[in-house]
Amino acid sequence: MSWKSKDLLTLEDFSAEEIAHVLDTANSFKEVSTRSVKKVPALRGRTVVLFFHEPSTRTRTSFELAAKRLSADILNVQTASSSLVKGETLIDTLKTLESMTIDAIVVRHKASGVPQMLANVTHASVINAGDGAHEHPTQGLLDLFTIREHKGSIAGLTVTIIGDITHSRVARSDIYGLTKLGAKVRLCAPPTLLPMGIEKMGVEIFYDLDKALEGSDVVYVLRLQLERQKKNLFPTIREYSMLYGVTSERLKRAKKDAIVMHPGPMNRGLEISSGVADGPASVIDEQVTNGVAVRMAVLYLLQGEKTQGENS
Protein backbone atom coordinates (compact mmCIF):
# COMPACT_ATOMS: atom_id res chain seq x y z
CA MET A 1 0.00 0.00 0.00
CA SER A 2 1.14 3.54 -0.51
CA TRP A 3 1.25 6.23 2.08
CA LYS A 4 -0.58 9.41 1.33
CA SER A 5 -0.68 11.64 4.40
CA LYS A 6 1.76 14.45 5.13
CA ASP A 7 0.71 14.51 8.77
CA LEU A 8 -0.47 12.27 11.56
CA LEU A 9 -3.16 14.25 13.35
CA THR A 10 -5.86 11.76 14.32
CA LEU A 11 -6.65 8.08 14.04
CA GLU A 12 -10.19 9.11 13.14
CA ASP A 13 -8.97 9.97 9.62
CA PHE A 14 -6.94 6.79 9.22
CA SER A 15 -8.14 3.71 7.41
CA ALA A 16 -7.75 0.22 8.83
CA GLU A 17 -5.30 -0.45 6.02
CA GLU A 18 -3.12 2.55 6.90
CA ILE A 19 -3.09 1.58 10.57
CA ALA A 20 -2.02 -1.97 9.68
CA HIS A 21 0.75 -0.57 7.49
CA VAL A 22 2.19 1.50 10.35
CA LEU A 23 2.07 -1.53 12.65
CA ASP A 24 3.79 -3.75 10.08
CA THR A 25 6.52 -1.16 9.58
CA ALA A 26 6.94 -0.77 13.34
CA ASN A 27 7.68 -4.50 13.56
CA SER A 28 11.00 -3.98 11.77
CA PHE A 29 11.87 -0.95 13.86
CA LYS A 30 11.33 -2.91 17.06
CA GLU A 31 14.18 -5.17 16.03
CA VAL A 32 16.47 -2.14 15.64
CA SER A 33 16.07 -1.28 19.33
CA THR A 34 17.31 -4.74 20.32
CA ARG A 35 20.67 -4.33 18.58
CA SER A 36 23.86 -3.13 20.22
CA VAL A 37 23.99 -0.28 17.67
CA LYS A 38 20.43 0.99 18.03
CA LYS A 39 20.44 3.18 14.99
CA VAL A 40 19.64 3.11 11.29
CA PRO A 41 20.50 5.85 8.78
CA ALA A 42 17.00 6.13 7.31
CA LEU A 43 16.39 9.82 8.24
CA ARG A 44 19.95 11.06 8.20
CA GLY A 45 20.09 14.80 7.63
CA ARG A 46 16.41 15.36 8.50
CA THR A 47 15.43 17.71 11.30
CA VAL A 48 12.63 16.86 13.69
CA VAL A 49 11.33 19.51 16.10
CA LEU A 50 9.75 18.49 19.38
CA PHE A 51 7.29 21.25 20.16
CA PHE A 52 5.83 20.49 23.57
CA HIS A 53 3.48 22.85 25.38
CA GLU A 54 2.51 20.50 28.16
CA PRO A 55 4.58 18.49 30.58
CA SER A 56 5.56 15.10 29.22
CA THR A 57 8.34 12.67 29.95
CA ARG A 58 7.42 9.49 28.22
CA THR A 59 5.99 10.81 24.97
CA ARG A 60 8.73 13.40 24.47
CA THR A 61 11.62 11.06 25.29
CA SER A 62 10.00 8.34 23.20
CA PHE A 63 9.81 10.65 20.17
CA GLU A 64 13.32 11.93 20.84
CA LEU A 65 14.73 8.40 20.94
CA ALA A 66 12.73 7.40 17.88
CA ALA A 67 14.12 10.33 15.87
CA LYS A 68 17.66 9.70 17.11
CA ARG A 69 17.50 6.01 16.24
CA LEU A 70 16.55 7.04 12.71
CA SER A 71 19.63 9.34 12.63
CA ALA A 72 17.51 12.50 12.39
CA ASP A 73 18.63 15.70 14.13
CA ILE A 74 16.29 16.90 16.80
CA LEU A 75 15.43 20.25 18.22
CA ASN A 76 13.56 20.69 21.50
CA VAL A 77 11.34 23.74 21.77
CA GLN A 78 9.50 24.15 25.02
CA THR A 79 7.04 26.85 25.94
CA ALA A 80 8.80 28.18 29.03
CA SER A 81 12.03 28.92 27.19
CA SER A 82 10.58 29.97 23.83
CA SER A 83 9.42 33.29 22.39
CA LEU A 84 5.87 32.24 23.13
CA VAL A 85 6.30 33.71 26.59
CA LYS A 86 7.11 37.01 24.90
CA GLY A 87 3.71 36.91 23.23
CA GLU A 88 4.62 35.40 19.87
CA THR A 89 1.76 33.43 18.36
CA LEU A 90 2.10 29.70 17.82
CA ILE A 91 1.92 30.12 14.07
CA ASP A 92 4.68 32.74 14.05
CA THR A 93 6.88 30.49 16.15
CA LEU A 94 6.21 27.70 13.69
CA LYS A 95 7.00 29.94 10.73
CA THR A 96 10.30 30.88 12.36
CA LEU A 97 11.17 27.22 12.85
CA GLU A 98 10.09 26.42 9.33
CA SER A 99 12.40 29.12 7.97
CA MET A 100 15.26 27.11 9.42
CA THR A 101 14.11 24.26 7.16
CA ILE A 102 12.72 21.61 9.42
CA ASP A 103 11.22 18.38 8.13
CA ALA A 104 8.83 17.29 10.84
CA ILE A 105 7.32 18.77 13.93
CA VAL A 106 5.91 16.83 16.86
CA VAL A 107 3.32 18.89 18.72
CA ARG A 108 1.71 18.57 22.10
CA HIS A 109 -0.70 21.26 23.24
CA LYS A 110 -3.41 21.60 25.83
CA ALA A 111 -5.88 22.88 23.23
CA SER A 112 -7.59 20.45 20.87
CA GLY A 113 -6.97 21.12 17.19
CA VAL A 114 -3.61 22.89 17.50
CA PRO A 115 -1.75 20.25 15.44
CA GLN A 116 -4.38 20.54 12.69
CA MET A 117 -4.04 24.34 12.72
CA LEU A 118 -0.26 24.11 12.40
CA ALA A 119 -0.48 21.43 9.70
CA ASN A 120 -2.58 23.79 7.59
CA VAL A 121 0.16 26.42 7.42
CA THR A 122 3.38 24.38 7.16
CA HIS A 123 5.06 22.15 4.62
CA ALA A 124 6.67 20.15 7.42
CA SER A 125 5.00 16.95 8.58
CA VAL A 126 3.02 17.54 11.74
CA ILE A 127 2.63 14.72 14.24
CA ASN A 128 0.08 15.09 16.99
CA ALA A 129 1.61 14.05 20.31
CA GLY A 130 -1.58 14.82 22.21
CA ASP A 131 -3.94 17.77 21.79
CA GLY A 132 -6.25 18.60 24.68
CA ALA A 133 -8.90 15.94 25.18
CA HIS A 134 -8.99 15.24 21.45
CA GLU A 135 -6.53 12.55 20.32
CA HIS A 136 -3.12 11.03 20.99
CA PRO A 137 -2.69 8.99 17.81
CA THR A 138 0.78 7.56 18.41
CA GLN A 139 -0.37 6.27 21.82
CA GLY A 140 -3.31 4.66 20.03
CA LEU A 141 -0.98 3.05 17.50
CA LEU A 142 1.42 1.71 20.12
CA ASP A 143 -1.52 0.28 22.06
CA LEU A 144 -2.78 -1.45 18.93
CA PHE A 145 0.73 -2.72 18.22
CA THR A 146 1.04 -4.14 21.74
CA ILE A 147 -2.37 -5.81 21.60
CA ARG A 148 -1.65 -7.28 18.18
CA GLU A 149 1.68 -8.62 19.37
CA HIS A 150 -0.01 -10.48 22.20
CA LYS A 151 -3.25 -11.54 20.60
CA GLY A 152 -2.20 -12.02 16.98
CA SER A 153 -4.95 -9.83 15.62
CA ILE A 154 -7.34 -7.16 16.86
CA ALA A 155 -10.54 -8.25 15.15
CA GLY A 156 -13.04 -9.93 17.45
CA LEU A 157 -11.30 -9.00 20.71
CA THR A 158 -13.20 -7.49 23.61
CA VAL A 159 -11.33 -4.47 24.93
CA THR A 160 -12.51 -2.75 28.08
CA ILE A 161 -11.35 0.82 28.73
CA ILE A 162 -11.82 1.97 32.30
CA GLY A 163 -11.64 5.45 33.76
CA ASP A 164 -11.92 9.10 32.84
CA ILE A 165 -13.06 8.83 29.23
CA THR A 166 -14.23 12.45 29.01
CA HIS A 167 -10.81 13.95 29.48
CA SER A 168 -8.83 11.18 27.81
CA ARG A 169 -7.30 11.75 24.39
CA VAL A 170 -5.76 8.29 24.72
CA ALA A 171 -9.21 6.72 25.01
CA ARG A 172 -10.45 8.52 21.91
CA SER A 173 -7.52 7.41 19.75
CA ASP A 174 -7.80 3.87 21.10
CA ILE A 175 -11.53 3.71 20.41
CA TYR A 176 -11.07 4.88 16.80
CA GLY A 177 -8.20 2.48 16.19
CA LEU A 178 -9.77 -0.53 17.89
CA THR A 179 -13.18 -0.19 16.27
CA LYS A 180 -11.61 0.30 12.83
CA LEU A 181 -9.69 -2.92 13.26
CA GLY A 182 -12.79 -4.79 14.36
CA ALA A 183 -12.53 -5.03 18.15
CA LYS A 184 -15.52 -4.75 20.45
CA VAL A 185 -14.89 -1.82 22.78
CA ARG A 186 -16.45 -1.46 26.22
CA LEU A 187 -16.16 1.70 28.26
CA CYS A 188 -16.52 1.63 32.02
CA ALA A 189 -16.68 4.75 34.18
CA PRO A 190 -19.02 6.72 36.44
CA PRO A 191 -21.51 8.63 34.27
CA THR A 192 -19.84 11.95 35.11
CA LEU A 193 -16.61 10.79 33.43
CA LEU A 194 -18.33 9.61 30.25
CA PRO A 195 -19.00 12.21 27.56
CA MET A 196 -22.53 12.58 26.21
CA GLY A 197 -23.16 10.64 23.03
CA ILE A 198 -20.00 8.55 23.26
CA GLU A 199 -21.97 5.43 22.32
CA LYS A 200 -22.14 6.85 18.79
CA MET A 201 -18.51 5.79 18.46
CA GLY A 202 -19.72 2.20 18.41
CA VAL A 203 -18.90 1.30 21.98
CA GLU A 204 -20.78 -0.40 24.80
CA ILE A 205 -21.19 1.49 28.08
CA PHE A 206 -20.86 -0.08 31.53
CA TYR A 207 -21.17 1.54 34.94
CA ASP A 208 -20.30 -1.63 36.83
CA LEU A 209 -16.66 -2.65 36.63
CA ASP A 210 -17.24 -6.34 37.37
CA LYS A 211 -19.74 -6.65 34.53
CA ALA A 212 -17.46 -4.74 32.18
CA LEU A 213 -14.48 -6.98 32.92
CA GLU A 214 -16.43 -10.20 32.32
CA GLY A 215 -14.85 -11.96 29.32
CA SER A 216 -12.46 -9.14 28.39
CA ASP A 217 -9.36 -9.92 26.33
CA VAL A 218 -7.76 -6.58 27.07
CA VAL A 219 -8.21 -4.43 30.19
CA TYR A 220 -7.13 -0.86 29.52
CA VAL A 221 -6.89 1.29 32.64
CA LEU A 222 -6.76 5.07 32.18
CA ARG A 223 -4.99 7.43 34.53
CA LEU A 224 -7.35 9.16 36.94
CA GLN A 225 -6.61 12.81 36.38
CA LEU A 226 -6.64 13.91 39.99
CA GLU A 227 -6.94 17.56 39.09
CA ARG A 228 -10.46 16.75 37.85
CA GLN A 229 -11.62 15.80 41.28
CA LYS A 230 -11.83 19.49 42.15
CA LYS A 231 -14.68 19.75 39.66
CA ASN A 232 -16.66 17.30 41.78
CA LEU A 233 -17.03 14.78 39.01
CA PHE A 234 -16.77 12.03 41.59
CA PRO A 235 -17.28 12.28 45.35
CA THR A 236 -13.93 11.05 46.71
CA ILE A 237 -10.83 9.41 45.38
CA ARG A 238 -11.36 6.58 47.81
CA GLU A 239 -14.83 5.89 46.51
CA TYR A 240 -13.57 5.93 42.91
CA SER A 241 -10.83 3.52 43.81
CA MET A 242 -13.27 1.13 45.49
CA LEU A 243 -15.71 1.15 42.58
CA TYR A 244 -13.39 1.44 39.59
CA GLY A 245 -9.91 0.47 40.77
CA VAL A 246 -8.61 -2.65 38.99
CA THR A 247 -7.30 -5.19 41.51
CA SER A 248 -6.06 -8.76 41.14
CA GLU A 249 -9.34 -10.00 42.64
CA ARG A 250 -11.50 -8.14 40.13
CA LEU A 251 -9.23 -8.99 37.20
CA LYS A 252 -10.24 -12.66 37.63
CA ARG A 253 -13.47 -11.83 35.82
CA ALA A 254 -11.58 -11.07 32.64
CA LYS A 255 -10.40 -13.91 30.39
CA LYS A 256 -7.60 -16.05 31.77
CA ASP A 257 -5.12 -14.78 29.18
CA ALA A 258 -6.27 -11.16 29.38
CA ILE A 259 -3.62 -8.46 29.24
CA VAL A 260 -3.64 -5.25 31.29
CA MET A 261 -2.56 -1.93 29.81
CA HIS A 262 -2.09 1.61 31.10
CA PRO A 263 -0.81 4.66 29.22
CA GLY A 264 1.06 5.96 32.27
CA PRO A 265 1.83 7.68 34.49
CA MET A 266 0.04 5.40 36.97
CA ASN A 267 -1.57 6.28 40.28
CA ARG A 268 -0.74 3.03 42.00
CA GLY A 269 -3.35 1.85 44.45
CA LEU A 270 -5.90 4.16 42.91
CA GLU A 271 -7.05 3.18 39.42
CA ILE A 272 -4.75 0.14 39.38
CA SER A 273 -3.30 -1.92 42.22
CA SER A 274 0.42 -2.63 42.32
CA GLY A 275 -0.42 -6.34 42.18
CA VAL A 276 -2.01 -5.85 38.77
CA ALA A 277 0.47 -3.26 37.47
CA ASP A 278 3.43 -5.53 38.20
CA GLY A 279 1.55 -8.81 37.73
CA PRO A 280 1.86 -11.41 34.99
CA ALA A 281 -0.98 -9.93 32.92
CA SER A 282 0.59 -6.48 32.77
CA VAL A 283 2.14 -5.34 29.47
CA ILE A 284 2.62 -1.76 30.64
CA ASP A 285 6.41 -1.80 30.22
CA GLU A 286 6.09 -3.32 26.75
CA GLN A 287 3.82 -0.44 25.76
CA VAL A 288 6.71 1.92 26.47
CA THR A 289 9.17 -0.23 24.48
CA ASN A 290 6.76 -0.46 21.55
CA GLY A 291 6.17 3.28 21.66
CA VAL A 292 9.66 3.95 20.31
CA ALA A 293 9.24 1.45 17.45
CA VAL A 294 5.83 2.81 16.48
CA ARG A 295 7.07 6.42 16.52
CA MET A 296 10.04 5.43 14.39
CA ALA A 297 7.63 3.93 11.88
CA VAL A 298 5.48 7.07 11.86
CA LEU A 299 8.45 9.41 11.37
CA TYR A 300 9.86 7.18 8.66
CA LEU A 301 6.61 6.83 6.72
CA LEU A 302 5.75 10.54 6.90
CA GLN A 303 9.20 11.60 5.74
CA GLY A 304 9.16 9.19 2.82
CA GLU A 305 5.90 10.59 1.62
CA LYS A 306 6.89 14.23 2.03
CA THR A 307 9.93 13.98 -0.22
CA GLN A 308 7.96 12.08 -2.80
CA GLY A 309 5.47 14.93 -2.92
CA GLU A 310 8.20 17.49 -3.45
CA ASN A 311 9.77 15.56 -6.28
CA SER A 312 6.68 14.99 -8.29
Partner: protein, 182 residues
Protein backbone atom coordinates in the same frame (compact mmCIF):
# COMPACT_ATOMS: atom_id res chain seq x y z
CA UNK B 1 2.59 -3.89 -16.79
CA UNK B 2 3.97 -3.75 -20.27
CA UNK B 3 7.03 -5.93 -19.64
CA UNK B 4 7.73 -8.77 -22.04
CA UNK B 5 10.03 -11.72 -21.57
CA UNK B 6 13.02 -11.19 -23.85
CA UNK B 7 15.04 -14.26 -22.90
CA UNK B 8 15.17 -17.05 -20.36
CA UNK B 9 18.79 -17.05 -19.20
CA UNK B 10 18.78 -19.77 -16.56
CA UNK B 11 16.38 -22.62 -15.97
CA UNK B 12 15.86 -24.40 -12.69
CA UNK B 13 18.67 -26.89 -13.33
CA UNK B 14 21.12 -24.18 -14.40
CA UNK B 15 20.35 -22.21 -11.28
CA UNK B 16 20.91 -25.24 -9.11
CA UNK B 17 24.25 -26.01 -10.79
CA UNK B 18 25.40 -22.40 -10.40
CA UNK B 19 24.57 -22.50 -6.69
CA UNK B 20 26.36 -25.83 -6.28
CA UNK B 21 29.47 -24.36 -7.88
CA UNK B 22 29.29 -21.25 -5.68
CA UNK B 23 28.98 -23.46 -2.59
CA UNK B 24 32.15 -25.32 -3.64
CA UNK B 25 33.99 -22.08 -4.36
CA UNK B 26 33.07 -20.63 -0.98
CA UNK B 27 34.35 -23.77 0.75
CA UNK B 28 37.50 -23.79 -1.35
CA UNK B 29 38.46 -20.19 -0.67
CA UNK B 30 37.44 -20.35 2.96
CA UNK B 31 39.18 -23.71 3.43
CA UNK B 32 36.10 -25.22 5.01
CA UNK B 33 33.30 -23.76 7.08
CA UNK B 34 35.23 -22.29 9.98
CA UNK B 35 33.87 -18.86 11.03
CA UNK B 36 31.70 -18.87 7.94
CA UNK B 37 28.23 -17.31 7.97
CA UNK B 38 25.84 -16.64 5.09
CA UNK B 39 23.68 -13.53 5.03
CA UNK B 40 21.03 -13.10 2.36
CA UNK B 41 19.72 -9.71 1.26
CA UNK B 42 15.93 -9.80 1.38
CA UNK B 43 13.98 -11.07 -0.18
CA UNK B 44 15.39 -13.29 -2.97
CA UNK B 45 18.87 -13.32 -1.41
CA UNK B 46 17.42 -14.86 1.73
CA UNK B 47 16.15 -17.86 -0.23
CA UNK B 48 19.50 -18.23 -2.01
CA UNK B 49 21.43 -18.02 1.28
CA UNK B 50 19.35 -20.82 2.72
CA UNK B 51 19.93 -22.96 -0.36
CA UNK B 52 23.68 -22.33 -0.22
CA UNK B 53 23.69 -23.32 3.46
CA UNK B 54 21.92 -26.56 2.55
CA UNK B 55 24.38 -27.28 -0.25
CA UNK B 56 27.36 -26.63 2.02
CA UNK B 57 25.86 -28.98 4.54
CA UNK B 58 25.45 -31.66 1.88
CA UNK B 59 29.07 -31.22 0.79
CA UNK B 60 30.87 -30.77 4.10
CA UNK B 61 28.39 -32.16 6.59
CA UNK B 62 28.53 -29.05 8.77
CA UNK B 63 25.83 -26.50 9.47
CA UNK B 64 26.68 -22.97 8.40
CA UNK B 65 24.65 -20.31 10.21
CA UNK B 66 22.61 -18.16 7.88
CA UNK B 67 20.48 -15.08 8.28
CA UNK B 68 18.82 -12.34 6.28
CA UNK B 69 19.05 -8.55 6.10
CA UNK B 70 16.31 -6.11 5.33
CA UNK B 71 18.23 -3.13 3.96
CA UNK B 72 15.24 -0.80 3.61
CA UNK B 73 16.45 1.63 6.29
CA UNK B 74 19.98 1.68 4.88
CA UNK B 75 19.13 2.55 1.30
CA UNK B 76 20.67 5.78 0.04
CA UNK B 77 17.28 6.68 -1.34
CA UNK B 78 15.46 5.98 1.93
CA UNK B 79 13.06 8.84 2.35
CA UNK B 80 13.16 9.80 -1.32
CA UNK B 81 11.51 6.69 -2.62
CA UNK B 82 7.97 6.07 -1.60
CA UNK B 83 7.78 3.37 1.03
CA UNK B 84 5.76 0.58 -0.49
CA UNK B 85 5.04 -2.58 1.42
CA UNK B 86 6.14 -2.70 5.02
CA UNK B 87 9.76 -3.78 5.56
CA UNK B 88 10.10 -7.42 6.53
CA UNK B 89 12.80 -6.87 9.14
CA UNK B 90 16.28 -8.19 9.64
CA UNK B 91 16.83 -11.66 11.04
CA UNK B 92 20.42 -12.33 12.08
CA UNK B 93 20.41 -15.06 14.73
CA UNK B 94 24.16 -14.88 15.41
CA UNK B 95 26.99 -12.45 16.17
CA UNK B 96 28.96 -11.40 13.09
CA UNK B 97 32.04 -10.28 15.02
CA UNK B 98 35.11 -12.29 13.94
CA UNK B 99 33.08 -14.12 11.31
CA UNK B 100 33.63 -14.37 7.58
CA UNK B 101 30.37 -13.07 6.22
CA UNK B 102 29.27 -14.02 2.74
CA UNK B 103 26.50 -11.67 1.56
CA UNK B 104 24.12 -13.36 -0.84
CA UNK B 105 21.92 -11.54 -3.33
CA UNK B 106 20.09 -12.45 -6.50
CA UNK B 107 21.27 -9.69 -8.84
CA UNK B 108 24.29 -7.37 -8.66
CA UNK B 109 23.55 -4.20 -10.61
CA UNK B 110 24.46 -0.69 -9.39
CA UNK B 111 26.10 -1.97 -6.20
CA UNK B 112 23.92 0.24 -4.03
CA UNK B 113 22.15 -2.64 -2.28
CA UNK B 114 25.50 -4.26 -1.52
CA UNK B 115 26.76 -0.96 -0.07
CA UNK B 116 23.66 -0.72 2.14
CA UNK B 117 24.05 -4.34 3.23
CA UNK B 118 27.69 -3.78 4.21
CA UNK B 119 26.71 -0.78 6.32
CA UNK B 120 23.93 -2.83 7.89
CA UNK B 121 26.27 -5.73 8.74
CA UNK B 122 28.85 -3.53 10.45
CA UNK B 123 26.16 -2.07 12.69
CA UNK B 124 26.02 -5.54 14.22
CA UNK B 125 29.72 -6.07 14.82
CA UNK B 126 33.14 -6.33 13.22
CA UNK B 127 33.44 -9.27 10.83
CA UNK B 128 36.88 -10.51 9.71
CA UNK B 129 35.76 -10.14 6.14
CA UNK B 130 32.65 -9.52 4.07
CA UNK B 131 32.36 -11.26 0.70
CA UNK B 132 29.66 -11.03 -1.91
CA UNK B 133 27.98 -13.90 -3.73
CA UNK B 134 25.38 -13.21 -6.42
CA UNK B 135 23.43 -15.42 -8.77
CA UNK B 136 23.56 -12.86 -11.59
CA UNK B 137 25.99 -10.03 -12.27
CA UNK B 138 24.42 -7.77 -14.87
CA UNK B 139 27.02 -4.98 -14.91
CA UNK B 140 26.38 -1.21 -14.81
CA UNK B 141 28.05 -0.65 -11.45
CA UNK B 142 27.76 2.78 -9.88
CA UNK B 143 29.88 1.96 -6.82
CA UNK B 144 33.35 0.39 -6.50
CA UNK B 145 31.93 -3.01 -5.59
CA UNK B 146 32.56 -6.39 -7.17
CA UNK B 147 31.24 -9.87 -6.49
CA UNK B 148 33.55 -12.60 -5.17
CA UNK B 149 31.25 -15.41 -6.33
CA UNK B 150 29.09 -15.11 -9.44
CA UNK B 151 26.55 -17.61 -10.76
CA UNK B 152 26.36 -16.05 -14.21
CA UNK B 153 27.49 -12.84 -15.85
CA UNK B 154 24.68 -11.42 -17.94
CA UNK B 155 25.61 -8.34 -19.95
CA UNK B 156 22.37 -6.38 -20.06
CA UNK B 157 21.05 -3.09 -21.28
CA UNK B 158 19.92 -0.61 -18.64
CA UNK B 159 16.55 -0.57 -20.38
CA UNK B 160 16.11 -4.23 -19.51
CA UNK B 161 15.29 -5.84 -16.18
CA UNK B 162 16.89 -9.01 -14.92
CA UNK B 163 14.34 -10.99 -12.97
CA UNK B 164 15.35 -13.84 -10.69
CA UNK B 165 12.47 -16.08 -9.69
CA UNK B 166 12.64 -18.61 -6.90
CA UNK B 167 10.23 -21.45 -6.16
CA UNK B 168 9.62 -20.35 -2.57
CA UNK B 169 8.34 -16.91 -3.57
CA UNK B 170 7.48 -17.00 -7.26
CA UNK B 171 6.50 -20.60 -7.87
CA UNK B 172 9.40 -21.40 -10.21
CA UNK B 173 13.19 -21.25 -10.43
CA UNK B 174 14.33 -19.22 -13.40
CA UNK B 175 16.19 -16.09 -14.50
CA UNK B 176 14.55 -13.90 -17.13
CA UNK B 177 15.46 -10.79 -19.03
CA UNK B 178 12.48 -8.52 -19.34
CA UNK B 179 11.95 -5.69 -21.76
CA UNK B 180 9.75 -2.67 -21.11
CA UNK B 181 8.45 -1.38 -17.83
CA UNK B 182 7.92 -3.86 -15.06
Amino acid sequence: MTAKIKARILEAQDMDRALTRIAHEILERNKGTQNLVLVGIKSRGEVLAERLANKIKAIEGTEVPWGALDITFYRDDAGTHKPGKAPEGTDLPFDVTNKKVVLVDDVLYTGRSARAAIDHIIDFGRPIAIRLAVLVDRGHREFPIHADYVGKNIPSSQKEEVLVKVKEKDGADEVLIMEGEL
